[in-house]
């Protein structure tokens, strides 16, 4: 018996909701509609259809929602329906257009918070799957991305189960909060019976202060040494799953996603001297330059500082990326956002980092980096409390396909 009705996905006329889901329309709209982007010169959001999901390499937008869902779909067919619905909504929401008119037959198909004509090209959306989706519920064990596991507890973690893991991950990015909320509200409306939000965090990226890489809420420029997302060969080596054994073939074009929700104990941090802060990071707070350099993009010259007199051996940047041939293949593509969720019980700000990174291999990259960072001096000022491991699905190539492709192979 099933307590779940596949019609809950509201497929059919109602579900189509927003018309105009052709990729070309989305791309055209993107150019036309991004003039309101606060950051002048921000590149347009790539179209929804493509070999990879757009939200992995494209520059981050100003706002994000990162959420994980527990799937309640009853059997594999229902799961396929759920992923089809999710694909339909993703396609529609990224393309924009006038919502389906339902006349007297139902309440409005759209919440209306973006007006009568949904702007297209304002939203990026990235869908991932967690290891738990491949348990015995849907008979998918043999299709599990070979490196996908449940996120372990790392030393210094303080994980809250209510903020960890999930069967599906969804990251929405846009320049405005209403765009994000509109999308989440729409997706939830169409998928209520099949999945429920397990946890959700809103995030924001900061404008450059005054230039260059954004600062995190500890006041340091963060994400400076990211691999170059415009270099395809580098992305093939670091980010994209190859689809070659031991990976199932369907994984080609996807990428492993790590989400870590990391509280920053900013009051404590603000009571630490500047020199000590800079030594913990290994960078100057004002310019973002490594302590042996002048500009944020200068590469630290560790070979000239073997004892760590300038950039301490246990500083964050030196542990995270020692810049040796042996550690080069552990580099990750970071895509962090800040979060602010109010105050804690003692009156301190509850703020921090939604750390997200993409990689080809969780163990070789994120976990190797994390192991090097264990017990770094910074750990007293941060507290990881949530997140999970996911596999960001390959892109939806065209209007005939869906995120559920891996169910059919």
């Amino acid at each position: 018996m099933s307590g779940y009705d596949r019609r809950m996905f509201l497929r059919g006329a109602l579900a189509t909701g927003i018309a105009g889901s052709v990729a070309g329309v989305a791309a055209g709209k993107a150019v036309a509609e991004t003039s309101t982007t606060p950051e002048a010169g921000a590149p347009p959001i790539p179209p929804f259809h493509g070999p990879h999901q757009a939200g992995i390499l494209a520059p981050a937008r100003r706002r994000t929602i990162v959420a994980a869902f527990d799937v309640m779909a009853d059997g594999r067919d229902d799961l396929a329906d759920l992923l089809q619905t999710l694909t339909d909504r993703a396609r529609a929401l990224t393309s924009g257009g006038i919502p389906e008119q339902v006349g007297i037959t139902a309440p409005s198909s759209d919440s209306g918070i973006l007006g009568p004509d949904i702007p297209g090209g304002d939203l990026m959306l990235t869908v991932g799957v967690g290891a738990s989706l491949f348990d015995d519920r849907y008979g998918l064990a043999s299709r599990k991305p070979s490196r996908l596991t449940r996120m372990p507890t790392f030393p210094n973690d303080d994980l809250d189960p209510a903020w960890c893991h999930g069967d599906l991950s969804l990251q929405l990015e846009a320049d405005d909060d209403d765009t994000l909320l509109h999308a989440l509200r729409d997706i939830a409306k169409h998928t209520r019976g099949g999945m429920q939000v397990r946890w959700r965090m809103n995030g924001f990226s900061n404008p450059p202060r005054p230039t260059g890489t954004q600062r995190n809420l500890l006041g340091f420029k963060d994400g400076i040494a990211n691999p170059d997302a415009t270099k395809a060969a580098e992305m093939d080596r670091r980010v994209w799953a190859s689809g070659k054994a031991p990976e199932p073939a369907w994984t080609a074009g996807g990428s492993y996603l790590v989400v870590r929700l990391i509280r920053m104990l900013v009051e404590f941090w603000d009571r630490v001297g500047l020199d000590e802060q800079e030594k913990m990071f290994g960078r100057a707070k004002d310019t973002g330059a490594p302590l042996d350099g002048a500009h944020e993009q200068d590469a630290p010259q560790y070979q000239n500082d073997p004892e760590g007199l300038v950039i301490p051996l246990d500083s964050h940047i030196r542990r995270a990326n020692p810049r040796t041939p042996q550690t080069d293949d552990s580099r990750i593509l970071r895509r962090g956002f800040n979060y602010d969720r109010g105050m804690d019980s003692v009156g301190n700000l509850d703020v921090g980092l939604i750390f997200t990174c993409y990689q080809q291999d969780l163990q070789r990259q994120f976990e190797a980096t994390q192991k090097r960072l264990a017990d770094e001096p910074l750990v007293d000022y941060i507290s990881p409390f949530g997140g999970g491991y996911f596999f960001a699905l390959p892109g939806v190539q065209d209007s005939s396909r869906s995120f559920g492709g891996f169910l059919k192979v």
């Binding site: 246990d314 019980s345 009156g347």
Partner: protein, 387 residues
Amino acid sequence: MHVRRVSTVIASSLLFVAGCSNSGVKAAPAQPAADPSIQISTSHCGEGWAHPAAGSQTLSITNTGTTTADADVIGVPGGAVYGELEGVAPGVTRSLPITLGQGTYAIRCQPEDGALIVGPSVRVAGSAKSGPAAVPVTYNDLYGPTREYQDYVAGGVKTLLARTKTLVAAVDRKDLKAAKKAWLPAHLAYEKLGAAYDTFGDFGDAIDGLPQGLPKGVHDPDFAGFHRVEYGLWHGESAASLRSPADRLLKDVKGLKADLPNEDMEPGDLPLRAHEIMENTLQFELTEKADQGSGTSLATASANLDGTRQAVEVLRPLLKSRYTGLSQMDADLDRVQKLLDAQKHGDSWTSVAGLGTSDRESIDGAVGELLERLAPIASICYPRRTS
């Protein structure tokens, strides 16, 4: 968790070399700093500060030498430090924001492996008020206070051992009522030591570790020490089952006591301890995160305050002439004390969850403000070379 890092400045017996002590004092008009860059190096320390100016400004400092060096802007005479840069690598230029008032100043260069050099004195004219400055505290200055603090810890560990024995004996004779009664005094003896952020390394985790960060939480085999015993005592665990964690606790307390003479406390740790103990209290006790059922977080907070007072007391002689906020800090210590005392009722304490909003806000606010007053101690007493 780890021991918060402190500088590895090496106490040096190298001679103070007044590199340019005979250079004349230059008068300069008050104008915005327009100097391209001031040098730090063994041979050119302070050169290039051609137009010293009053007011808020950013000095540009370039290490033109061959070794990594620190740079200070000091007052002449007296040697009070107005601003410092640490670990400037050869060839690197870094900016030093600073506010200078009317007076005489010099750049002091500290190559990592060489003698200190004081550059030429420069005079700043005008009526602007300089930013705050303090005469550096040296490693030598900190040895006495550190020894005093270690004596305090050694005395406290004796009490800790005696009280832990009482606790463990109660568990051994299966008297859990007595064990519950003995748990708090023993735990507070530990908390009075002022262990924060893993001061005692592995012993800290073994004796006072929390289940957070352990894969199986409170059921993890590595969850040990006072909070493990607390969890059992306040969650109906049998005396038989509690015996092993209690014995383990006693073994680790004995281990700490035996190890203590071998553990030389890093003098640079003490000034950090002054605020870190209460940072730890705010983060883990006033949030009740550390509580495993006894509801005694405020008792712990009070013991932590004792440990903090001890750290402050031994540093007081160094702070008197350097820290203008000292009397306000004392008032804040007393204020927190009074608020915590009010929550003690005979042998029992109000739990954090049992505090009314106004009491909770008063305690959180007072501790927060105290922390703001304690934090400068770490900056002021950070060990620095002056010779």
